[in-house]
Symmetry: C2
Subunit: 407 residues, 2 copies
Amino acid sequence: MAHDVFPPPRRLLLGPGPSNVHPRVLAAMAQPLVGHLDPAFIALMEETKRLLRQLFQTTNELTIPISGTGSAGLEACIVNLVEPDDEVVIGVNGVFGTRLVDVATRAGAIVLKAEAPWGEAVSGEALAAAIARARRPKLVVLVHAETSTGVWQPLEDASRLAHQAGALFVVDCVTSLAGCPVEIDRVGIDAAYSGTQKCLSCPPGLSPVTFGPRAVAALRARTRTVQSWYLDLTMIEKYWGEERVYHHTAPISMNYALYEGLRLVMEEGLEARFRRHRLNHEALVAGLEALGLTMAVAPGRRLWMLNSVRVPQDVDDLAVRRALLVEDQIEIGGGLGPLKGKIWRIGLMGESSTAANVTTLLGALERLLPRHGMSVPSGAGVAAARRVYAAQELPTQRGTTAAASEG
Amino acid sequence: MAHDVFPPPRRLLLGPGPSNVHPRVLAAMAQPLVGHLDPAFIALMEETKRLLRQLFQTTNELTIPISGTGSAGLEACIVNLVEPDDEVVIGVNGVFGTRLVDVATRAGAIVLKAEAPWGEAVSGEALAAAIARARRPKLVVLVHAETSTGVWQPLEDASRLAHQAGALFVVDCVTSLAGCPVEIDRVGIDAAYSGTQKCLSCPPGLSPVTFGPRAVAALRARTRTVQSWYLDLTMIEKYWGEERVYHHTAPISMNYALYEGLRLVMEEGLEARFRRHRLNHEALVAGLEALGLTMAVAPGRRLWMLNSVRVPQDVDDLAVRRALLVEDQIEIGGGLGPLKGKIWRIGLMGESSTAANVTTLLGALERLLPRHGMSVPSGAGVAAARRVYAAQELPTQRGTTAAASEG
């Protein structure tokens, strides 16, 4: 058994995350450790905060990684900003909105849901109606990129509605950050959280968060202690700030990885990176549609980094995903909750978002789908994707970690 | 700046953790990622649970790593077992007992402290008195290895007292696990948590926990939802159990590291590993005392993996530690709280516990102390340590990660 585990299989990670990790980030993970108060680590912390601010497009001082996965960042934002009986308006149109409701309820919040069907964005009307049901909402929370459905959520009107109601505007950027614009300051987002294993293309294990002046003021104005010690930002900020007061031992190696991942993002440039994610998304959609598949989300609401497509009628969801994994070493995601068995979720995140990966996946589907009961026009998917690339300037080809395989 | 961070300096980590990491564990961290539901990762999860049970010396089914550092494991044990107004008896004789009080209070517990001066173990009398003050204690919690003071806490009488009172016995094994015996089943410990960055010699970022049948029954009998979603074991156990229900995305690379770290522990053997920690501790103590230094903890209560020694009168704590770091690349820890400036904490944990590291540190102190105002008998420390080694069978020399330097 022991010898089966390492080396792990080389997968092409085209699911909902983790995504493929750049060799430079893997090399950073293998660097020897220093202490969590070592001057060398403190220098890395300072650089990480600076790079995270660039990525979040903010000047927020309190911009740091929480020592857990994206869900820990979610919980950190909620438990630090919510006190019992605070009203919290939450947009719910998938797994992560549902999770926010659960976490806020555990924190003692009175939750007001602004709902939309899974696969659609939360409308301004639904949000305004939920806000109107509140007496004095403390937070309005939306999921920017709903990883469970592939829906992109517009934020600007919501930010205005939240602030008109006197609430803080909080956004889940787990899957959007580093794949499409997340403009904290311009949009007026007061607090946001993300994850390392999506478009940042680092291993899972840290959750970058940013708190703006209004959110920090709310933190300072709390009348009760934050219910979680581990996620208490009033303490964590003293370790990441100038005081360097020991709180918990920072995950040193994961912070090495995040730092190196952020450097790669900045070397590519935000605009180029977003363009790359968009182009590969467009090529994939063209390819999938040319094969006769149907996207699950309407145009204009589709995420570039998480493409959900309907499982064709009479095709066995699990059998196709298993064949992709076993024969082609490709991971894609299945549906969750009401979408279980109904959609595939194809991630093109960070290092995984490459033209080579798009055509590799389309080629594999062209080969596999006929075997699983759906006839497809041979070569049409790859050809359609190539036409998209040909029609545009090709972005710099990045992402050398793809375990490309024609099977 | 960017070029200053990697490669990080090669430190000899002889502080309170992180400890030095074996090259095989670093190599595991650099393996490419698989998904958190990949069959290859599920196989690794199963192996990890099996190895953790061996290490904890338990048959507890619910033995898994929590996705955060040791403090997240601490909070997980408390919030899963405590409901508001439950009485919790906590042994307090250092930072980590104090932290337990804070976490339990945030969970709504009524805390009854069994106190001892920092540097001493909690006595059976103090514990019995605190238990007697409770009506019906839900938990009795002790810190096995108080990292802030270097005190080893005996557990067997406490386990009996806890169970006589009908309470669950919960133990903090963050620093003891893999360095000295932690016998969950024999001692009757109902729940325990540890960390990866101490005697397991992995990077920080995971916290192994184990829950026995009585603790699992208490979890099942809860009347209120666990206040933390991220740490809710009733959900996490469904991902680590046969159901494989997605909860949060597991930190893949950190789990690679833990698995490889556990394999190294088992290759060495628990008995041999404990003997090694004990012998290097004895050699270090002999060396420090030969230099004229005084241990801060009485014999019989000293930890093998964390040696606290008084800062000599008229010697500048910080100046000596800074010189060790800058000139010798050696990290040792300072005191915390009431012991700040009064003790040094010298970790000999996992890969850091080697004869070479003991003599390297003693040599460095022999050179540095006279420069900082304390005359020491030249060569006496190293010689005393060598006599300890000569008097015993030398354990297998492990720990190739030491950045040994005679300065």
